[in-house]
């Protein structure tokens, strides 16, 4: 095919140059004209060359219609219209404009060169273009969980051994309910036994059909309509990471309503999220027993029932990783069980954070946590360990000591833990001026310290950049994107990201706010590619300081010889530091 490429524009000719390259490489004969030629000159060349295609490009919108109209008229007058196909493309072009002016085809701003080539070669091409294939990734794959320093190993071994021995002699209503639920799932009728171990709110729901305040039932008709809606929610998958494999990008949902959750999930997936995390209401964590059925909640957090979880699962894309938070309350083991039953990939268990900042009694959550970790191991479901106690003021090294103790316990119990240091502007960092110059060094120091201790996956959250966000949409997206870029630079396994509504507290997070952040992350990842963010020497000083702090904390806990007592006594964070032992479930643990 003979193709004449014409930049009918004072300066812009990049598009025709790209097409020239592609057509030439495909064996077509091309003639590329320079920009800013007179129309009459171009027509003369067209008459002389009589190409099969005249491809005109126009970027500037100013005067475009008039100029393109005059050009096609002259081509017509020169008798070329019957011999050549005349095509126009560029930022100023729409298909409608091209048709109106009499061009054979028009290609607008978002056209891919493949589409133009396919048109010339008379081939069909899908409107979506090349399909991106996304696969569900195993975050924990390839990690040995080896403790790299024998001094740490000795302490962690001692602490984990003590926890296991202690927990083996104890049980709780949470553990017993999980055992009953497991049998119910197998078909046994044990509702009376189950409700015996529940709070009044849950018991009334089962026995007297009393629906808790702010909760409403979802009907089968609604489900049917949601399924119809989901079946129409097709989109082209996106990968945010550009040229690297890591990190996976997770978003949190928990609007209260499974319908709105489903919509947030679909929007997040469509804009490139790799995974989602389920957050339940805070009252659910303090209330003994779980409800059942399809339930919406008019406040923050989406109620955990097996039916709700299955509904959410039905909304998830095949490649989307799904984490259901379990650790923050008196239903931890049962939530792990239901999460597995509903098809979750991951769960969240950290007895230290959950009992010092999540409101659960340390003794109770330790008993429940150990059982929950055993379930996670049985189901081969990795669990992540958030360290959000840092947000209350607990120094990173103490939060990390707790995280590592539970992680090592997890490994001993056959599970696969994932470390979750927080990338945040924490009270401790503010008071001690660790982040006076930049937000990089202290966060890098955390990752270096953890990597020097254990070979384990690292997934900062929840979410990255905590306490650096404002209500300003641009600022919020920017700070998330920069923290995401830091995660990418450090080759971390995953990150949890917020929406640009992170700092907005007067209303629900919007789907647009989710897109804002994901778009910003995509551009940050594109900008950095495989390039690295270089921390200052201070990052290594912080790493040393954090590592020493972790060691000292673990040493004190090991010497104390009682993990639960260590939680009450402030070894993982004092009350002054914001670590307040929770009360939910206090006094419910019994020896068995």
């Amino acid at each position: 095919m003979k193709i004449l490429l014409v930049p009918l524009d004072p300066v812009h000719d990049v598009a025709v140059k790209m097409l020239n390259r592609e057509f030439s490489q495909r064996g077509h004969q091309t003639i590329l004209l320079p920009p800013d030629m007179k129309i009459e000159e171009i027509v003369q060349i067209c008459q002389r060359e009589t190409p099969d295609y005249i491809m005109v490009s126009r970027t500037l919108g100013y005067n475009a219609a008039e100029l393109l109209g005059r050009f096609i008229d002259l081509i017509d007058a020169a008798g070329l219209r019957r011999k050549c196909k005349v095509v126009v493309g560029g930022k100023a072009i729409t298909k409608e404009l091209a048709a109106e002016l009499g061009y054979d085809a028009g290609f607008g701003e978002k056209t891919r060169w493949e589409e133009v080539v396919a048109f010339v070669e008379g081939r069909e091409i899908s409107a979506e273009g090349k399909t991106v294939e996304k696969f569900k990734k195993e975050i924990t794959r390839g990690y040995s969980y080896e403790i790299k320093d024998s001094a740490f190993r000795e302490l962690l071994e001692k602490i984990a051994g003590q926890i296991i021995e202690w927990a083996n002699q104890r049980t709780s209503p949470g553990v017993e309910r999980a055992k009953i639920r497991e049998r119910i799932l197998k078909g046994e009728d044990l509702l009376d036994e189950y409700t015996e171990l529940c709070d009044d709110l849950v018991r009334s729901y089962y026995k007297e059909k009393v629906i808790p305040k702010h909760v409403r039932l979802i009907t089968q008709e609604e489900i049917k309509r949601l399924k119809e809606l989901l079946s129409k929610s097709s989109y082209s998958p996106r990968v945010l990471r550009h040229s690297t494999d890591k990190p996976l990008v997770f978003v949190q949902y928990g609007t209260g309503c499974p319908f709105m959750d489903a919509m947030h999930i679909k929007v997040s997936e469509a804009w490139g999220a790799d995974g989602v995390l389920h957050f339940d209401p805070s009252w659910g964590a303090r209330c003994e027993g779980l409800l059942e059925g399809l339930l919406a909640h008019e406040e923050d957090g989406s109620i955990i029932t097996l039916e709700n979880l299955k509904l959410i699962k039905s909304a998830l894309g095949e490649s989307t990783l799904w984490c259901v938070r379990a650790h923050r309350g008196v239903n931890t083991p049962e939530i792990v069980l239901l999460a597995h039953e509903a098809g979750a990939d991951l769960t969240k268990i950290n007895m230290v954070y959950g009992s010092l900042n999540g409101g659960s009694d340390p003794e109770r959550l330790t008993v429940d946590g150990v059982y929950a970790i055993k379930l996670a191991a049985k189901f081969n479901m990795p669990f992540d360990l958030p360290t959000n106690e840092e947000l209350g003021g607990v120094p990173a090294h103490k939060a990390f000591a707790g995280m590592l103790a539970v992680a090592y316990l997890g490994v001993k119990l056959g599970a696969k833990p994932i470390l979750k240091p927080l990338f945040c502007y924490s009270p401790d960092a503010i008071i001690n001026k660790y982040m006076e110059d930049n937000y990089i060094d202290y966060n890098v120091g955390k990752v270096i310290a953890l990597r020097e201790i254990i070979d384990a996956p690292i997934w900062p959250g929840e979410p990255i950049g905590f306490m650096t966000h404002t209500e300003d949409r641009v600022q919020s997206a920017m700070t998330t994107a920069l923290h995401a870029a830091l995660g990418k630079s450090l080759e971390l396994d995953a990150i949890t990201v917020s929406s640009t509504d992170e700092a907005y507290a007067r209303g629900a997070i919007t789907t647009s706010a989710r897109i804002d952040s994901l778009r910003a992350i995509a551009d940050a990842f594109r900008f950095f590619g495989r390039a690295k963010i270089e921390p200052t020497k201070q990052a290594y000083e912080y790493a040393k300081m954090i590592k020493e702090g972790i060691y000292q904390t673990l040493q004190r806990v090991a010497e104390r010889g009682d993990f639960v007592a260590s939680l009450y006594e402030g070894l993982f964070g004092t009350k002054e530091e914001g670590a307040n032992p929770g009360r939910a479930g206090r006094g419910t643990v019994r020896k068995c």
């Binding site: 009907t219 629900a508 919007t510």
Partner: protein
């Protein structure tokens, strides 16, 4: 039936000539109400001397509401 297409909220960003942040808020809320929105708020405002960059929001649906896009009934 625009409600059939809006998932949750409508945001409007603009820069307002206003002598104070408070004045900008009042003008902003007034603008949103003049469009007929009821559940409105100022998400963000940054006032500097004579003008304010402002982001206004109207929730068409809050979680748990009856969503036209899902034709969800309300079975309380």
């Amino acid at each position: 039936m625009l409600e059939k297409h809006i998932i949750d909220a409508v945001d409007l960003e603009t820069t307002l000539l206003a002598e104070s942040e408070q004045k900008a808020r009042e003008i902003g809320i007034g603008i949103m109400k003049s469009f007929g929105f009821k559940d409105v708020d100022v998400v963000f405002v940054e006032h500097n001397g004579f003008a304010a960059r402002i982001r206004l929001r109207a929730y068409v649906y809050r979680p748990g509401d009856k969503y036209s896009w899902a034709s969800v009934g309300d079975e309380r």
